[in-house]
């Protein structure tokens, strides 16, 4: 890794430079929530944010998007994907690790062009954070981003300790060589001390050892019914989860009935129609099966790591106050 230092007074000039690499988005406070929004300067951002409601997945897997248009008379399917360069500033380590997980799914042996192109057209600037009472990324090992970013900023008293994570990041750093400095021994010591301190700030713990077996063994457990009775089946937990990526597809026809478009939008496994198959048979007919399915999916190693990064969003934004960590503690028999 290459390390450099960005003095605090140069942050705005740095953001100005980033604008030449695409539209810059950063965490902005809206009411009582945080959201990644387009920004013009660093002052519009709330870099001390806890978590955004909608994770950065929205930049790569759009909440709703057109896949292509079709025209029956011309006999054509036409791709309408447009390239746009963006910079996402201030992503926390859990969300960077979530994007790495999404990459495994969307950029596999049959890559999704929409997702892949957007990932390639984005600059990821990570930002160090401090946990609140809902964060348990520490338990999952996702509280540190070892890679998956172009640049990563850790706050120091008088500047930022910057990790340069890619050639793209390095190119940016070379463009702004007059804004940055070499790191000194005292910067390194300050960074290390801050990381040591941060490790001790976590209050919420989730024991993930053997979690896959614990889930399989609790398949018939009463836990699912207990929480299914509280669950509204609203799907908010899926929408806010940085690793939930189910989508649904619909075709829209124009008035001439000959042309139209195919759309996809984020979907939710907590909704009834997600498990339907031919003849109206439903493999997950009740909320019990759907809730259990969500926890088993999150707690599996299908993509070599658990499908959860411990961001706490599903607990924070559940209208029924279903606590993700509490459910898993019950699954294990700790509660």
């Amino acid at each position: 890794m290459k390390y450099v230092k960005l003095p605090k007074e140069n942050l705005d000039a740095f953001v100005e430079n980033l604008k030449t690499h695409g539209k810059v988005y950063g965490p902005v406070k809206i009411g009582e929530y945080y959201s990644f929004q387009e920004i013009n300067n660093s002052k519009e951002m709330s870099l001390e944010y806890s978590r955004t409601m909608i994770p950065p997945k929205k930049f790569f897997l759009k909440l709703k998007e057109r896949l292509f248009t079709f025209n029956e008379e011309k006999g054509e399917y036409k791709e309408t994907l447009e390239e746009e360069k963006i910079v996402v500033f201030g992503i926390h380590p859990c969300d960077i690790n979530a994007l790495k997980l999404m990459d495994k799914i969307y950029i596999d042996e049959t890559p999704d062009k929409y997702y892949k192109m957007r990932r390639e057209n984005a600059v990821i600037v990570g930002y160090g954070c401090h946990p609140d009472e809902y964060c348990f990324c520490h338990s999952l090992g996702t509280n540190y981003a070892a890679d998956g970013f172009d640049l990563f900023l850790h706050e120091l008293k008088d500047g930022f300790f910057v990790r340069v994570g890619s050639d793209k990041g390095n190119a940016i750093v070379s463009e702004i060589s007059e804004l940055i400095k070499d790191v000194e021994g005292s910067d390194i010591e300050e960074f290390r001390a801050a990381e040591r301190k941060r490790e001790k700030e976590y209050t919420l713990e989730l024991n993930i050892r053997g979690i896959t077996d614990m889930l399989a063994l609790a398949y018939e457990s009463e836990v699912w019914k207990e929480y299914a009775d509280k669950c509204f089946g609203c799907g908010s937990c899926n929408l806010v989860c940085p690793t939930c990526r189910c989508y649904d597809v619909v075709d829209n026809v124009n008035l001439n009935l000959k042309s139209g478009e195919r759309l996809r939008r984020l979907d939710s496994c907590m909704l009834r129609k997600h498990g339907l198959v031919a003849g109206g048979l439903n493999f997950r007919p009740t909320r019990i099966e759907r809730l259990r399915n969500r926890f088993n999916c999150k707690g599996s190693l299908r993509e070599d790591t658990l499908n959860c990064v411990g961001c706490g969003r599903c607990t924070v934004y559940c209208p029924s106050q279903i606590d993700y960590v509490e459910v898993l503690k019950k699954v294990r028999g700790e509660l």
Binding site: F68, Y77, T110, V249, D267, N296, R302
Partner: protein, 293 residues
């Protein structure tokens, strides 16, 4: 330019024949010559069929490839997309993507007996397995087919299967037929003609008719979900090991390539995408993946 796997490729209907009240046979040919060259598929794989303005549905190949760029499908009319497919004329344009899915391990099964058990529409994907095995006849030992229908009217590929029933042994396979409606006249007369190969009852009854050697037999099952449990029970009684029982599953699919998450099944220890880890799984997979069958 990177390929867009979600963008369908144009194909036209070259054949469309009514098979039963709700099933049609379709032959489809892709338009793009370059794509036709590389478009190939294995038994057990499926394609995504798009009808402009209606949507997309996964449909299994029901034959092996005999002509470049051509694929045979057997479609049951159950809803929006499949209904639209039924109303296509010769020459109509559709979109296709694929082939997708793992397919049956035809090479792994070489040197063994094959027992194909099909119920209803499940015979469509198994027909491609049968065609493959008969084309490569020397590579397999005995080939036995069980096909369960409700009534004569619901029987798919009637001429072809009647032929196999009557002369199957000469053509290289032992073909057995079961029917559920005990009052069905045509079935009764079929049974009278070929009493040793045709009987009334559910498909599992046909197990009474054969001697199965569990040490060198692969079973391949496809049918409605309820059928799997009973067929697997029979096979287990006959000591066919779980890893030699193959079945193909159906789930609602929105992508076919492991992205949309609709076909995910299982528990923490084993999560599977039916579309890309399957749709063909072994009974062993089902034993350690909750909710599979």
């Amino acid at each position: 330019m990177m390929e867009n796997v979600l963008l369908p490729k144009l194909a036209k209907i070259v054949k469309s024949e009514k098979m039963t009240a709700i099933e049609r046979f379709l032959q489809v040919e892709v338009l793009d010559k370059k794509f036709a060259e590389v478009f190939d598929y294995q038994p057990g794989q499926f394609i995504e069929v798009s009808i402009m303005g209606v949507g997309e549905a996964p449909i299994s190949t029901c034959s092996i490839r005999t002509k470049k760029g051509v694929i045979d499908l057997c479609v049951r009319n159950v809803g929006r997309v499949t209904n639209a497919i039924h109303h296509l004329n010769i020459g109509s344009l559709i979109g296709i993507r694929g082939p997708y899915g793992n397919g049956f391990p035809m090479e792994e099964m070489e040197g063994s007996n094959l027992l194909l058990v099909a119920g209803g529409l499940g015979v469509a994907p198994l027909r491609s397995v049968l065609q493959y095995a008969l084309k490569n006849r020397a590579k397999y030992k005995d080939i036995t087919v069980f096909y369960g229908i409700r009534t004569y009217d619901t029987m798919l590929f009637r001429d072809e299967f009647y032929n196999l029933l009557a002369e199957g042994d000469k053509l290289g396979c032992k073909f057995y037929l079961s029917y559920e409606d005990s009052k069905d006249k045509q079935c009764i007369s079929l049974e009278a003609e070929h009493s040793e190969r045709c009987m009334c009852g559910v498909v599992t009854k046909l197990f009474e008719r054969i001697k199965l050697s569990p040490e060198d037999t692969y079973a391949i099952i496809c049918g409605p979900p309820i059928m799997y449990r009973f067929v697997v029970q029979e096979l287990t009684k006959k000591q066919v090991p779980p890893e030699k029982i193959y079945m193909t599953l159906e789930r609602r699919m929105k992508c076919g390539i492991g992205k949309c998450g609709h076909c995910i099944i299982g528990d923490g220890t084993s999560i599977k995408y039916v579309c890309k880890d399957g749709p063909v799984f072994t009974y062993w997979d089902a034993l350690h993946t909750k909710g599979m069958i």
